[in-house]
């Protein structure tokens, strides 16, 4: 309880800089700066950490996008010369790895970090320093993954890194080593983050917020974190085995010794399939907030949406082998996994129906956020339907390793997840930055992305069914086929589509720059929203809420603004969002306790990164890494949680509960 700040009575008075009295390990003072880079690097504020996750993810969205464009450029012409076969392998491996581990998961983490405490009515997450540690481990992992480009070539085994193809014989460069270590380290960060978020959701809800009064976004994030907690250790094992094989000569994937190549595939997909739901469920959560707000109706069948999300998570653990139908598992396994996979379509379908019925009869406001949400419903359904065709094992055997698979997962991941995230950008931008994204540019952004995405990934269905292999780096005119099913024609359409898609994404970035420079200040409640994050200023104060809200309803903010008229049965507005926020400010809590910034999370992450590099570059570097980790772990543990007596004003004497710090300065 190291920072204790006095909340300002009105918003016009700037808050005093938070005071951090406690020392680390009795020697170093904790970092107290509230401006400049130090206030970001050492922060434990979930909002700053959320923004940093977002910036990191957006950067790698662009990196991964450029990699994708290079792939499409290579395939735009017959006998493409842009990339060599080897570079092409590295490109699609790193495109997928970057998009999944360095864009999609961090962007979902950005939303979760920023909005969970706000939606739950809490002032921070349960373990603020672990939160920072998760972020910095991700950064370390991302840097190691991409360092491989400059240190002898990136990984080239596909994002699933099947063995024995990923072994030292077939992948002699250090690329795969960097890949395993980078993913491992980012995975540690993710594991720590997921434990933290589960505890936050279960333990830090505002008074009155039962689980079934919790926003759907929080529910979906909860399901995702459970998926991560139980699937990340399995990929950890797989990565450890591969690292030991490559760096220390272990035999796990050495077929000459009698190794089983399916071991890697099982371990990978036991993680890899839940991971798919890790990617999509946050987007489902986001649009479950957006659709009711812009339809001016409560979410249709809230418990069904919640429990179908949970059952997607549960069943999602029992379907991994559908990625391995072509490996000869035997008819019983194939049948069981095939049926389980089809079963997942049921809760997913329930959600689609609920979202559609939420819009049904509503007064729909076609804002950009809403357009993206509707886009998700349509495009995800297309991807879901092609997904059901994979669940049918005989049909899947035909589709395995063709572009049909590429078409399917880009519809669910781009059309589903990315559209959900963009919906979230437009919906929550005013909350995070206090300015409205331009809706006109937003419209262009949306339509170019819809057209580009369908042009890019739609033709891949045809290409795949025609038999174009998934990782083919070049095609020739002579063997491209005739007429409507000409490979060349559809590859060109797809490459053209990817350019349009890129322009659509570029418009978003232009919109961000435009808004930051000239954007209108956002009203406190621009969308007539429903959940607790809107009952505070935009952007929220460092302590989130002046007064911890007491929750009585699902969509409590909405029910504070509207009440049912007993005679007509309609909802009548009794207060505006602005009034409610002012009311909270007027009744601010007297003493607000926030966690203190800390050096140790980033120090531990540096240690872990050094240890990772040591695995490639030798034991001395590993030892340095271990020493940094040990030292900073002790710093982490010994950091006092409670302010020293002398830091209080007046000095603390036993038994008193409410104390304030001496003002800074």
């Amino acid at each position: 309880m190291a920072i204790i700040e006095r909340p300002a009575p009105t918003a016009s008075i700037l808050l005093r800089a938070p005071v951090t009295p406690s020392q680390s390990m009795g020697i170093v003072r904790r970092p107290v700066t509230s401006t400049g880079w130090k206030s970001w690097v050492f922060t434990v504020d979930h909002k700053k950490i959320g923004i940093m996750y977002g910036v990191f993810a957006m950067f790698f969205f662009i990196v991964g996008g450029v990699e994708a464009l290079l792939i499409r450029l290579q395939l735009a012409t017959p006998d493409g010369k842009i990339l060599s076969a080897d570079l092409y392998n590295q490109m699609f491996t790193m495109h997928a790895t970057t998009m999944i581990f360095l864009f999609a998961m961090p962007m979902a983490a950005a939303f979760a970090n920023y909005f969970l405490p706000l939606q739950l009515g809490a002032r921070d997450v349960a373990f603020p320093r672990l939160n920072a540690l998760g972020l910095w481990l991700l950064v370390a992992g991302g840097l190691i993954l991409n360092a491989s480009w400059f240190l002898g070539g990136a990984a080239d085994g596909g994002w699933f890194m099947y063995s024995p193809n990923s072994g030292p014989v077939f992948s002699p460069s250090n690329g795969v080593d960097f890949w395993t270590l980078g993913v491992q380290i980012a995975g540690f960060g993710s594991l720590i983050g997921s434990i933290n978020l589960i505890v936050t959701i279960l333990n830090m809800r505002a008074p009155g917020m039962t689980l079934m009064k919790m926003p759907v976004f929080c529910w979906m994030i909860l399901v995702v974190q459970f998926l991560l907690v139980f699937s990340l250790p399995v990929i950890t094992v797989a990565l450890v085995l591969l690292t030991f094989q490559r760096s220390f000569g272990a035999t796990f994937f050495d077929v000459a010794q009698g190794a089983d190549p399916l071991l890697w595939q099982h371990l990978f997909w036991i993680f890899g399939h839940p991971e798919v739901y890790v990617l999509i469920l946050p987007a489902f959560g986001i649009i479950s907030e957006v659709l009711p707000t812009f339809s001016r109706k409560p979410l249709f069948g809230y418990p069904f949406v919640v429990f179908s999300g949970a059952s997607i998570g549960l069943v999602g653990f029992g379907v991994w082998s559908h990625h391995m139908f072509a490996t000869g598992l035997g008819p019983i396994s194939v049948a069981a996994f095939s049926i389980a996979t089809m079963a997942i379509a049921i809760p997913t379908g329930v959600k689609i129906f609920n979202w559609t019925l939420t819009m049904w009869g509503g007064k729909i406001w076609y804002s950009t956020a809403m357009k993206f949400a509707i886009g998700l419903i349509v495009l995800f359904t297309i991807g879901g339907l092609s997904g059901v065709t994979h669940a049918v094992a005989p049909s899947d055997t035909q589709q395995t390793d063709t572009y049909y698979i590429v078409a399917h997962f880009h519809y669910v991941l781009f059309g589903g997840m990315v559209f959900g995230l963009f919906s979230g950008f437009y919906y929550w931008w005013p909350k995070v930055f206090g300015k409205m994204l331009n809706e006109k540019l937003g419209g262009w952004n949306f339509w170019l992305m819809v057209i580009g995405m369908n042009m890019t990934f739609g033709p891949m269905h045809i290409l795949g069914l025609q038999g174009q292999p998934r990782r083919m780096y070049v095609w020739t005119e002579a063997r491209a086929g005739e007429g409507l099913f000409n490979f060349g024609f559809w590859n060109r359409v797809s490459s053209l589509g990817s350019l349009i898609l890129a322009i659509g994404v570029l418009l978003f970035l232009i919109n961000v720059v435009h808004t930051t420079r000239k954007g209108k200040p956002a009203p406190l409640d621009p969308w007539d929203a429903r959940t607790l994050e809107w009952i505070t200023t935009s952007p929220p104060k460092e302590h989130n809420f002046d007064r911890i809200p007491v929750v009585h309803h699902l969509d409590d903010f909405f029910h504070r603004k509207y009440q049912e008229d007993a005679t007509t049965g309609t909802m009548v507005q009794i207060a505006t969002g602005e009034q409610l926020v002012r009311d909270e400010e007027a009744n601010a809590d007297a003493h607000i306790h926030l966690p203190s910034p800390s050096y140790w999370p980033i120090a531990i992450a540096i240690g872990v990164g050094t240890l990772g590099m040591g695995v490639v570059y030798g034991v001395p570097i590993m030892i340095v890494g271990v020493l940094i980790i040990l030292g900073s772990s002790f710093g982490f543990v010994l950091e006092p949680s409670v302010a020293d007596d002398i830091d209080y004003d007046p000095p603390m004497s036993g038994g008193q509960e409410t104390k304030e710090l001496a003002p800074l300065g």
């Binding site: 309880m1 373990f127 540690l133 450890v240 796990f252 190794a259």
Partner: protein, 207 residues
């Protein structure tokens, strides 16, 4: 190392909960520890599965039946299991706020754990000298990886126990002391239970 980190954060739960009870009534730290241990189950699940797949695949080098010294490993397993008893005694002492006994039992637990690790080092050396290297065959790679991972967990536990003892001596600990001891106890018991499974599957059931 994350184990240490998870434990360390008993403080911040107080920060943001500022003294109020949590929504579920369970403390943040304890819930986090249980989740972490749940995750660890899958980690050892993966390692044990790998071992079970590869236990009989021996193309060269000695067979396990030729080198395993069951009486020796049984004794070191007994030592490890007894450390769970002393850990429980440390937790109850901490709950009774008896610092001296807490420190004593923590030290004994750490010593028992260190004895187990020492036994493992001795055993690994003996196996290596008899021709079973890490890279010899599939069995050896998966055997050393599984038991080695467990050994590292015990070692981290010993470091945590001794650090905790030092911190209590210096009176530098933060938060609820009895809870910190209990959290490390949870981790310690988990590591012991995993060893029961590993010992049975690796040593007692013939390949």
């Amino acid at each position: 190392m994350d184990d240490v980190a998870v434990l360390a954060n008993h403080d911040t739960g107080h920060d943001t909960g500022h003294g109020h009870s949590t929504s579920t009534g369970l403390s943040n730290n304890k819930m986090a520890m249980w989740l972490f241990l749940g995750s660890e189950c899958l980690l050892f699940g993966g390692l044990i599965s790998t071992y079970m797949l590869y236990r009989g695949r021996i193309t060269q080098g000695p067979r396990p039946s030729q080198i395993f010294d069951i009486p020796f490993t049984s004794v070191s397993s007994f030592v490890l299991l007894m450390s769970s008893l002393t850990m429980v005694l440390a937790v109850t002492s901490a709950q009774r706020k008896d610092n001296e006994r807490t420190k004593l039992w923590l030290t004994i637990t750490a010593l028992l754990g260190a004895t187990f690790v020492g036994g493992q080092v001795y055993e690994f050396t003996a196996f290596y000298n008899e021709g079973l290297g890490f890279t010899t065959n599939l069995f050896s790679s998966s055997f050393y990886t599984l038991t080695g991972f467990h050994g590292v967990h015990v070692t981290i536990g010993v470091i945590m126990l001794l650090s905790l003892r030092g911190v209590i001596s210096a009176n530098k600990d933060t938060g609820d002391r009895a809870e910190v001891v209990e959290l490390i106890g949870l981790y310690w018991h988990f590591v012991d239970i995993v060893w029961i499974i590993i010992f049975t599957l690796v040593y007692l059931i013939p390949a």
